[in-house]
Symmetry: C2
DNA sequence: CGTCATATACTTACGGTGTCAGTTAGTATA
DNA sequence: TATACTAACTGACACCGTAAGTATATGACG
């Protein structure tokens, strides 16, 4: 008996006296994307399925397709939404300080949703929405004030951007250790061929108890000093 | 008729006169991992399924489980295999040149298998196999010769490593454009709100026709100069 | 009121996924 | 020859993205 509507479920039923209307707010791309982001943050990237997002909104998976083209479109929306949450720090007098602030803000954003970086890595297409481009515009404007020749601004942006993304990726992915994997790393520390990998062995304590904030600043300093040296000595 | 063995298939049949033995080489973790790497390189990350890898080796998916614990283990193996293909460049007299060579080798490796970077981003666990650690050891040994104080070597490694990974990630993921997406980017160039994003608009030509090799060297130079400045002026 | 159009949510179904559990065949040893 | 072991295969389950079709609520217009 496939067609016995035992009850009209409890869906949008405008005239049902006993139970209240119980109208869910209407679906929208915004609500769907936010739900997907929530699921991603709380349960991981693998958990983000159309069915799971639908359940989050108490809706069947196929209903989502009224608002997003497909799953890839949904994930693109997630990236754009995260980008649009970028908090622009106030400009400082010194371009170096402005650059530092922007870099920190960028890192904070990526760390607030550690999986977007994997998402971007999977999508492999440039970000085109205006919200996603605004932080980039901000960064370019700062680098301009560093006195770079016209064609070099974008190079510097790529260099800084690369560093920030790469650093955070290594950080959140636990690529070279970190507090969260201490026990495991201490195990491998025991059976590490110390004579074959002496420098790694020597670095092990720094691998364990590293202050990521401090180390991030260190690399940032490297880039800024390098840029400074370059602008001082003319175009390299 | 589920149980009529019409033929013993053509599996390891030691005594079959008409058709030759046709013995496939025995399965092994190595062969499986290499097959997975091949599928990944040729058909993308999504294509790497147990069934697909099995088909590659003319074997059912479940047979792979005799040699790998699960899919994650297989993918870990892929990463380790790629790492073990790292080609150590000869050391130069100058540590700066050595660092440059190592950085290039690292980038070359990541670009040879552009999807391993996504893979590492997904795995989110440190690399522990000796092959995977050897390139890291090499990098650390170079940075030691730069005259860094003991505790700073690893920081510098993280900074350089972050830059390289991040740059290549942005490069292969087409995050900020590149030749492969020219047409698409030229489209968005037309409808870019130039007055709202002036610096991006000004950078568009560099976004289109950028020389990734050259830009990579630029950022590398930034880091090296920064490190130089730091070692010259004492511990920063 | 009736009726039609539109929008939006639901249902079904297909071929794919990872992998648990059970089966089979070929080989080495007792 | 009997036994044990290894390494392949088979079937099943619960999930996935999504094409195609169906049902219902709402608004427009008579």
């Amino acid at each position: 008996m496939p067609k016995t509507p035992t009850k009209p479920a409890s869906l949008p039923n405008s005239a049902d006296p006993d139970n209240p209307p119980e109208r869910r707010p209407p679906l929208s791309r915004e609500r769907i994307v936010r739900a997907a982001l929530r699921v991603m943050d709380e349960e991981g990237l693998e958990a983000v399925s159309m069915r799971r997002v639908g359940r989050e909104l108490r809706v069947e998976a196929m209903s989502l397709y009224n608002h997003v083209a497909d799953k890839e479109d949904l994930l693109t929306g997630v990236i754009e939404t995260v980008m649009s949450d970028f908090e622009f720090p106030p400009d400082a007098d010194d371009w170096k300080e402005s650059a530092r602030r922007a870099a920190r803000a960028w890192r904070d954003l990526l760390k607030a949703h550690p999986l977007v970086i994997t998402l971007m890595s999977e999508q492999r297409k440039p970000m085109t929405s205006i919200q996603a481009l605004r932080p980039m515009e901000h960064a370019l404007s700062i680098l301009r004030t560093a006195g770079l020749p016209d064609g070099e601004t974008f190079r510097a942006f790529r260099a800084f951007g690369g560093y920030i993304q790469g650093y955070v990726l290594a950080e959140v992915a636990n690529m070279f250790g970190g507090q969260e994997v201490d026990i495991h790393l201490e195990d491998i520390a025991r059976l590490l061929p110390t004579e074959e990998l002496p420098h790694i062995a020597a670095s092990l304590p720094h691998l364990f108890r590293c202050d990521f904030d401090e180390e991030f600043e260190y690399g940032l300093d490297l880039m800024i000093r390098g840029l400074e040296a370059k602008t001082a000595s003319g175009s390299g």
